[in-house]
Amino acid sequence: IISFQSCESHLDVVPDSAPTIDNAFTLRNEAEKYLFTCYSYLPKNGDVRFNIAMLAGDEIWKNDITLDDVSNFEIAKGNQRAGNPLVNVWDGNSYGAGPNNNFDIFDGIRHCNIFIEKMTDRNNARDLDELERTRWIGEVEFLKAYYHYYLLRMYGPIPIIDKNIPIEASTDEINVYRAPFDECVSYISDLLDQSAEKLPESIEDITNELGRITKPIALGIKAKLLTMAASPLFNGNPDYVGFVDSQGTALMNTTYDPQKWRKAADAALAAIQSAEASGNSLFYFEQNQFDLSETTLTKLSIRQAITERWNPEIVWSNPNSRTTNLQYYCMVPVSADYNHTLAQKILSPPLKMAKLFYTKNGVPINEDKTLNFTNETELRLATAEDSYNIEEGFQTARINFDREPRFYADLGFDGSTFYKRDSPSKSDENTWVIRAKYNDYAGSNAGVLYNVSGYYIKKLVDWRMTNSTGEPYRSYAWPEIRLADLYLLYAEALNEAEGPTANVLEYANRVRQRAGLEGIAESWTNFSVNPSKYTTKEGMREILHQERLIELAFEGQRFWDLRRWKKASEELNKDITGWNYLGVTQEEYYQIRTLELQKFVAPRDYLWPLSENTLLQNPNLVQNPGW
């Protein structure tokens, strides 16, 4: 019998150099991979399947057949539930984003904590210089803050995971509590400040590093965080009286604090100053060899501010969320030569989005004293005057006439033009037009790839799009923060803090100017039935809200803005309508078709439900109100 000792070693089969987590921090090269791992949990907001806000609200509708696995859309249809929540970011087991398309955001936070802990130890990655080490830690601090912010926006109060709990911890240690909302805000805000100090002003190595986190990004997210915290949903919301956890801690403040708006305004201004100092400015499309009209140039400025890669207006765009698919879903066939796979046009803005845009005079359609839009199904013939927006001689809905440039830049519709670089006329005259009735080339007689509202999103499609089998779309990194967004945030916060002062008008008007509109004062004074609206804080608030909804339409902002303003219960209880996409003739087509009787239950639907299972697993957590 073989001696027992030698048999002990018979069982030692693992060589000493089998990889462990410590190997990830021995060299700069390996640590960089861990840094990128922390980045990999950023939600893919440039994908309509993963950007919660795109299909879960009232901004974009679609048919039930294509993208039928998108749970966001189920939320829009009122099917959210606590049993197995849709888009369950908390548990990371829903169709989401990040690695494997799960929203495992708490995993991301754990990775960030590991990275910060390991990299703070100078014995790790000794070949990394101090400057770079500090910057990397700053980036990961930002990501950690951002992941907390992302959860906060959905769930309200969340547990703060500042330090990792050990794996072998007891149940009591694992069962965390949700921290009160204001505590979460100040934690995230402090962390963002901390990271901003370590971050570069801008990216120097653009070939390899564009898209990495910079100081203006950190300050921009801080501005968004503080504006959200100052907004009615979270600032003294009486609906949350009695929202306490099992220890009796109140999780929400229920008294309004005006100082929060001041902080938000300061943060927004700081972000703007930092961004402008780093070279950010509003995007204006430059005249080119095609000798484009002013109308077209304005529309291209509006569209390309989003779709032009790395344009100066972009404060932060995420290169790990690119937009080829998004453009496929938005694009509409502009001639009979397009096949429906190339231009799928399934993303359908409801009629309410079309009505949202101002008139050509820069005021809402129900306020313009010179124009009447009350008859919704009225039709009108386009003249030469309309020809940069609507094909001359084409009859389409009255509502599609006399609108501001952003309407024509953002939306396509039956009879609208669609200027792209490959315009067959080589100019913006006699360019591509859309035909949208049932049997037309952009119509819904197209198998499963059809539009249900009669409106198409031009805004998110780069103007270089071509009808080719190679690469028809030039993808761009999804813009998370544009300078226009910060301007409008600042104007909004400042108005709340000090009323409609000159600075409020100044920053909002910068955005309007790029959109080809007069300033707020001029427009309202000259065209509104309520000419002095902008002179009061409340009137200005309404103006700025609508300005923001228009400027940031289809960028996944409306969903969150309506919530923080506590306007979702009003807006998301309206019917979703569109033109009758099954209509073959003009008469049939220009009927209003109701797509959904949308329901929003307040205050329940303002915050996400925690899954019943998670509440059972950790009894220290409490459910959000109404669920």
């Binding site: 019998i1 048999c7 002990e8 018979h10 069982l11 030692d12 089969v13 693992v14 089998a18 990889p19 462990t20 987590i21 990830a24 960089e32 991979k33 990128f36 791992t37 990999s40 539930r81 197995n84 548990d91 990371g92 087991n93 690695p99 494997n100 995993d107 991301g108 936070i109 754990r110 990775h111 547990p159 709990i165 794996i167 072998e168 149940t171 694992i174 069962n175 965390v176 653009i206 070939t207 390899n208 590093e209 564009l210 898209g211 990495r212 790395w310 290169p319 790990n320 429906h340 796979t341 007689n445 197209a446 499963v448 790839l449 019943e612 299972n613 998670t614 059972l616 697993q617 950790n618």
Partner: protein
Amino acid sequence: SVKDNNGTPLLGVNVLEKGTTNGVAADFDGNYEIKVTDNEAILVFSFVGYQTKEIAVKNETTINAVLIEDLSELDEVVLVGFGKQKKESLVSSITSISPGELKAPTSNLTTMMAGRVAGMIAFQRSGEPGANNSDFFIRGLGSFGAGKRNPLILIDGIESSPTDMARLQPDDIESFSVLKDAAAASIYGARGANGVVLISTKSGKAGKVKFDFRVENRFSSNTDNFKIADNITYMKLANEATLTRDPLAPLPYSQNKIERTAAGANPLLYPNNNWIDQLIKDYTWNQAFNLSASGGAEKAQYYVAGTFNVDNGLLNVNGLNDFNNNIKLYNYSLRSNINLQLTPTTEGIVRLYGQFDDYTGPIGGGQRIFNSALYSNPVLFPNVYPESLSPFTTHPMFGGAETRPGSGVLAQNPYAEMVRGYQVYKNSTLQVQLELKQDLGFWTEGLSARAMGYIRRFSFFDVTRSYNPFYYSSRRNPENGEIILNVLNDGSEGSIGTTGTEFLDYNPGNKRLDSRIYLETAINYNRTFNDVHSVSGMLINLISSYQTGNAGSLQASLPSRNHGLSGRFTYGYDNRYLFEFNFGYNGSERFSAGKRYGYFPSIGFAYRISNEDYFQPLKNVVNDLKLRFTFGEIGNDEIGRQEDRFFYLSNVNLNDGTYGASFGEEFGFSRPGVSTSRYSNPNITWEKSKQTNIGLDVGLFKSLTISADYFKQHRFNILQERSDVGSTLGLQVTPSTNFGEVESKGFELSMDYNQQLSSSWWTSLRANMTYSTSEILEFAEIDYPNELSYLKRKGNSIAQGYGLIAERLFVDDEEVANSPTQFGDVRGGDIKYRDVNGDGAITDADRVPIGLPTTPELIYGFGGTIGYKDFDFSLFFQGSARSSFFIRPNLIQPFFINGSSESGLLKAIADDHWSESNRNVYAFWPRLSTQQEVNNNQPSTWWMRNGAFLRLKNIEFGYNAPKSIANKIGLENLRVYASAINVAVWSSFDLWDPEQGANGLGYPIQSVYNIGLTARL
């Protein structure tokens, strides 16, 4: 001649003229010659271990006798762990069955175990050649862990897979034992917790060479396949399904198409396919050949056997291609067992075994073809257009169409899918084994030593070859009425789907290689003192190492190793009191250094009451009575997921592309990320099992034996994911601990009855049953509050199903509106569930344990043989009870388009579904839909069915030719027989074969009718 009831000649049978001393012994081939005094004489045949038989001579000159085994004789020797024991001295619970019991017209031995092996729970889910192994568990499922749950299989001491066992020929089996309790299995320590199957193969005997030959020709057909509705109904109901959910939706089929199809218009324009008929044949033929040669001299004996089986599939392949892609599984093996007497005290045994499978079949296997018959639209296109329509086309013109107009996706043509190519796989198992036995009686009486080692190599590869079919659509030329074909995927502008090719392409598949090396050394001591004290002892040391060449990761590529020291000590007093102690002391490389070794002891007692003096008066009635008791502990190191080789180490991927990111102006700077698939946990150790067995053996009237066992097993340290680790901890994988506990218990009963009824008639009957239930004692799960206690798995069976309670279908939309909210968009005619917790919403929290366990708790079998002179007839029934299974509605959802497939309509749905005009709230199928209805697809009592069935498993009618006839054609003996398996089944379920359970859309279990012949030369 004299034979046993298997037709084997018996050597040395005593033949005596009754009432005289005139007697002879039968020779090596069972032949005898005796001169008797007159025609009135009666011959008495007697032989140890067989019942004595008397036959009157009358005027016959040739008298052939068939002797039946006498079960009252208990000298039978049984395989036990690392050795053999006399059955009469067994203490532990071991089922030993005669190899003849396992003979049936199937080339898969595992399908013969249900109902025949007391203590084994077995069921077969598929009939596809090469994929038709039964699942089997000893005494039911003992654990709910992710690791190994089926028994350790040792063939001649070689650790083997269920497939190795499936390929074994009953002809080559010498003995077959199943070790069921701790006393029998603890000697296998770390590997024995799920029971052990021990099989030994035959070895040669000294004497002249003998050839045994068996040939079978088998007719095989489906027991019961699913049935689909006719295509007119299909189209009408597809329209109904569309309208009933959305009255405005465009109809998939026009009235014109339906009417023309019904009128039998040209099927090239109005296709009307029955895919099952087009893809599946009604029957196929299979062949099996088995040949062995054995013999030898005093110093060397050999047993050499070869097997050749051909199993064909049921696919309807015509000569469209010049390759045949029906399933064809050739299976051949060669076995050579050689015993050498090296010295007077040393024996060497060399065993060589090669086993080879050669498979050809459709790409993706037969199951996929059966599935595609249901998952393809039958009215979109014909299977293939006749060549005459386009004589110059050099490839088959398969029918094709888009799934929906404009979808850009070609609908699946299952016929094209079936014939477009073929898959070949080949696997080989080679085993070389050497065993040495040394009698050490010259040192001390009863002492011996033994060593055995083997190397086993397995290899597998598969290759597919296929072309991309060209698909065509057709229309009628309005001018001359001719059919015009239009190619859909030639790669030109507007071509959809993969472009067709006329040539075959090649795709290498998996290649798997593994190797096992094993060595055991043992010393044995066996002696009886003073005639009453019998003592034995055995110590064994074993080491094994296993490696695979396709591990996929560093950790998985490292060798799997076991090391163990085991022993057995027995003491018997006067054949009345028997005592046994076994232990295994085993190490596994999977655990951290301090936790590697486990000690697994067991004890057993038996009391043979029938050997007591005071019992002797009863012995004519109760010829044997024995009580047995054992208790012990066994381990299991094959726990958790297979990729979790080393629990004490973390498993990190430092180059995981999924976790990477890209930056830069052109997104050009990319780095992969880091992911963790296991966190280290040095505390993880063996899963353990404490087992108790109480048994009773009774022999009555020397013809009936009954064996009954009650067993109880307590399995603990079952590896489970921690339930209290919430998502907020941020772990990529949930850590596991040794937490779960299960108690399983049950009883098993087997009865054998062998009786000579008269000089010509004999019978042998047997019945057995196994009943096993389990209860989870500890389960890592949420600590549910009282009002939700029904969600707990603790307290339920391991295989308990959970689901909602379906009350009935909703009467109408109004009832839906006034009921608790359910799932998705619910309408009248959808399933209505019970709101168990009364919260006004149907959620996962309303799921309760429903039905019986999903693996059967009761398996039974009964049957027997009756013989008359040279004829015999056997029947065997097998049944299963106390189980539930769930129809999976998502798999049979009609009209559902998923990628290129569109599901067909089961006849059962067409015949019985809810509709606006027939609001039957108890219809089989809810309101029709063309989508997966999330509400109706919930696991619920609506889809639960009783899994109980009884089947006529086996019939055989045989004839053993008299020696005179056999000799004429140069044979020593000859048996011809007709047999069948899976002849009939009775159950309350009629959509498909109930034994397939939820797997009903797969390859059906086969009924086989066979004609066979065995001969000895």
